[in-house]
């Protein structure tokens, strides 16, 4: 210690050399503080709020520990909201996976050089423009007097569109006023998050495995089913974590495209803004956290995080 104070030049490094534990602490402290206070702190405050309740008469939050707010989650209308959101997220995730796989497969195994760059560009480009601009653009595309209806009329398949919109529940008066529209926009917006991890996983499937499989007499279908798909699955699951959780939490798309039936995100937005019911909004926010907890546990079992 005395040597460290007498020699100012090497003092600090000497000190840290002798106390290596302190060095680790000094390096880790800023990120730990960030995670602890900013990141976990806000989540913790949220969790705390969800155990308070709203006094129905005065509209003020009662700061007493209670489980009644969670009880409100289990009323029929709120359960419907949760179910609607979870089903939408699951359907969007499946559709994204099915659409993304062939694209990722081509980009990973066949595209070369300039084509490959072009593929990356095409996948990434939608991420560069504003999310809101894209959603509003889709509102116009899907509108009753938008380009899709117009093309259907010109191709004399307007009856097909009408039949689709006549389907109960998912239909509506126009594409942009129905669940179908909400679904299309969700898939469009989140698709890149599915393609990129899937492509990364497919690129890591060794080529000689596929050749070996063929040498041993497997048909292409068998090779795909027993070699490529299992090896690429962690990538697909990693992508599905993005699409699933992003859909669970989004509150802008259902406001602009769809039939105004609330999703978890829009319900939270309305509760904290219009109603001032912060406790119920917080309790609603815990729902996606719990759903994602289960989802991640299953995903980890399937090795999704090896591909990240």
């Amino acid at each position: 210690m005395s040597a460290a104070t007498t020699d100012p030049r090497g003092g600090l490094s000497d000190f840290f050399y002798r106390h290596s534990g302190l060095l680790t602490l000094a390096l880790l402290l800023p990120p730990l503080l960030w995670i602890g206070i900013v990141y976990l702190g806000s989540l913790f405050a949220l969790l705390l709020q969800s155990f308070y309740s709203l006094d129905e008469f005065s509209g003020l939050v009662v700061h007493e520990f209670t489980l009644t707010t969670y009880g409100h989650l289990f009323t029929a209308s709120n359960l419907t909201i949760i179910l609607r959101t979870a089903v939408m997220a699951a359907v969007v995730t499946m559709a994204s996976a099915i659409l993304a796989f062939p694209i990722a497969y081509y980009a990973a195994r066949y595209a070369k050089g300039g084509w490959k760059a072009l593929f990356y560009l095409a996948v990434m480009m939608p991420l560069w423009s504003s999310y809101l601009v894209k959603v509003y653009a889709w509102k116009l595309i899907l509108a009753k007097e938008g380009i899709i209806t117009w093309m259907a009329e010109k191709l004399h398949i307007g009856w097909l569109l009408d039949a689709l919109l006549a389907v109960p529940v998912i239909g509506g008066s126009s594409l942009s006023f129905s669940y179908i529209g909400t679904f299309i926009v969700f898939v469009y917006i989140w698709l890149p998050y599915m393609i990129l991890p899937t492509q990364a996983a497919l690129e890591r499937v060794p080529k000689n495995f596929i050749e070996a499989s063929a040498d041993l007499g497997a048909s292409p279908r068998q090779t795909f089913r027993t070699v490529i798909l299992p090896l690429a699955l962690p990538g697909v699951i990693a992508g599905s974590i993005f699409t699933f959780s992003l859909t669970l939490g989004d509150y802008i798309i259902p406001q602009i495209v769809g039939n105004s039936r609330p999703f978890i995100g829009t319900a939270v937005y309305a509760l904290q803004g219009t109603a001032g019911d912060i406790p119920l909004a917080a309790a609603f926010t815990v729902v996606p956290v719990v759903i994602m907890g289960f989802y991640l546990t299953i995903a980890r079992r399937m090795g999704a995080f090896d591909a990240l």
């Binding site: 009753k144 007097e145 008066s173 126009s174 006023f177 406001q255 105004s260 609330p262 803004g273 109603a275």
Partner: protein, 384 residues
């Protein structure tokens, strides 16, 4: 956990003490300006000529008084209440469904009307209005008002619809097609009052006297009507610009709306017009109110005085499609024109039920259904 709880509890206690300590006395005089004033306002309410240089009622005020005007816009009444609860603002242009909540929450201070030199020029119908006057004390200066009109497509309706039934009940419209999927409703809980107003006239046996004071039976009847309406509504409107797009591109032919959207659609040569049907209409009446702990009270009073300037009132009415609170503003304003006040609804004051916060305490026997229930029920309606 306990630490945080204690911290929050003590903060709340501190706030309560501060609230009590603050004497709710109106100011006696206007001192020199503090150099700025911070206002929470509806979008389009305080213009400094940035969108259109003809519409500017801030620059001259700033030059004259030296008070720089800072505006924070809010999209809903609830957002305004939240911002005022957080504090740090001097003034707010509160609608009737926010103003009484602000008074009850002690977030706004009484206004000394003898310091408002143009108070006498105000529309007599607004001077003692119950949404800013509580027990004879004035909590603000009326700013603008207007109706929630029925906007309709003139190609479908050759004559203006006579009743709100076109948006509430399934029926065949004059063009021979059903109204299903072609009408819209507002997505805020305050819209329950529109349903109540309709039932007040069409089902007198329910005994609704005031659409903001509903007992449980009346409320249930209104919610049943709105659940029925859900089947007709393709999408509820929230954002004025999105509604404009829905009228243009989604085949929406009738909806409750604001003169603001109708003016923009008409300016765009769309076949849209508006009317106030026989049942009357709900509407808004906005009051400029002053925060209980306004950091710049003198500049705030200067703005309150400026806000009644006939030129400002007329220009604003032309810009927003509203009605001035100063009748003198209706004459000789270039932007509004002499017909403007009538177009925007000046004569319809008595037909309009202005937005108010529904509270449990009311004149109806057995008490009324409070706003929190309106909110919950309306969310269920939309979720159906």
């Amino acid at each position: 956990m306990t630490f945080m709880k204690t911290a929050i509890a003590s903060l709340a206690a501190l706030a309560a003490v501060a609230g009590i300590a603050m004497a709710q006395e109106a100011r006696k005089e206007i001192g020199p300006g503090e150099g700025q004033v911070d206002i929470v306002a509806w979008p389009g309410y305080i213009e400094r000529g940035e969108t259109d240089k003809n519409y500017d009622w801030v620059t001259a005020f700033e030059k004259e008084t030296g008070c720089k005007v800072n505006v924070k816009t809010a999209a809903t009444s609830d957002e305004m209440v939240t911002l005022m609860n957080q504090g740090g603002f001097d003034l707010v242009t509160a609608s009737g469904d926010a103003s009484l909540r602000l008074v009850a929450g002690k977030k706004v201070q009484p206004i000394n009307i003898s310091l408002i030199k143009d108070w006498g020029t105000l529309d007599d119908r607004l001077k003692e209005a119950p949404w800013h006057t509580v027990d004879g004390v004035h909590y603000g200066v009326p700013y603008q008002w207007g109706p929630n009109v029925l906007a309709y497509n003139t190609k479908v309706f050759k004559d203006a619809p006579k009743s709100w039934s076109v948006v509430f009940e399934e029926q065949t419209l004059p063009d021979g097609k059903s109204n299903k999927g072609r009408v819209q409703a507002f997505d805020g809980p305050i819209y329950v009052a529109d349903g109540a107003l309709y039932l007040m006239k069409t089902k007198p046996e329910l005994g609704i006297k005031n659409p903001y004071e509903l007992n449980q039976a009346q409320f249930d009847a209104v919610i049943a009507l709105l659940k029925n309406q859900r089947q007709l509504v393709g999408r509820y409107w929230h954002d004025a610009m999105v509604q404009i797009d829905d009228f243009k591109n989604e085949g929406v032919v009738a909806s409750g709306s604001w003169p603001f959207q109708v003016n923009l659609l008409e300016a765009d040569k769309q076949p849209i017009s508006s009317t106030i049907p026989a049942e009357g209409a709900t509407g808004w009446a906005d009051t400029t109110m002053m925060h209980a702990e306004a950091p710049h009270p003198n500049c705030a009073y200067l703005w309150l005085n400026h806000s009644l300037n006939p030129k400002l009132q007329g220009d604003l009415a032309a810009w927003f499609g509203s009605v001035p609170s100063v009748p003198a503003a209706c004459k000789g304003n270039e932007l509004l024109t002499d017909a403007g006040c009538a177009t925007n609804g000046f004569e319809n004051f008595d037909k309009i039920w202005f937005w108010r916060t529904p509270t449990a305490k009311c004149g109806v026997e057995g008490g009324c259904v409070p706003y929190s229930q309106w909110d919950k029920a309306y969310r269920e309606v939309m979720s159906q």
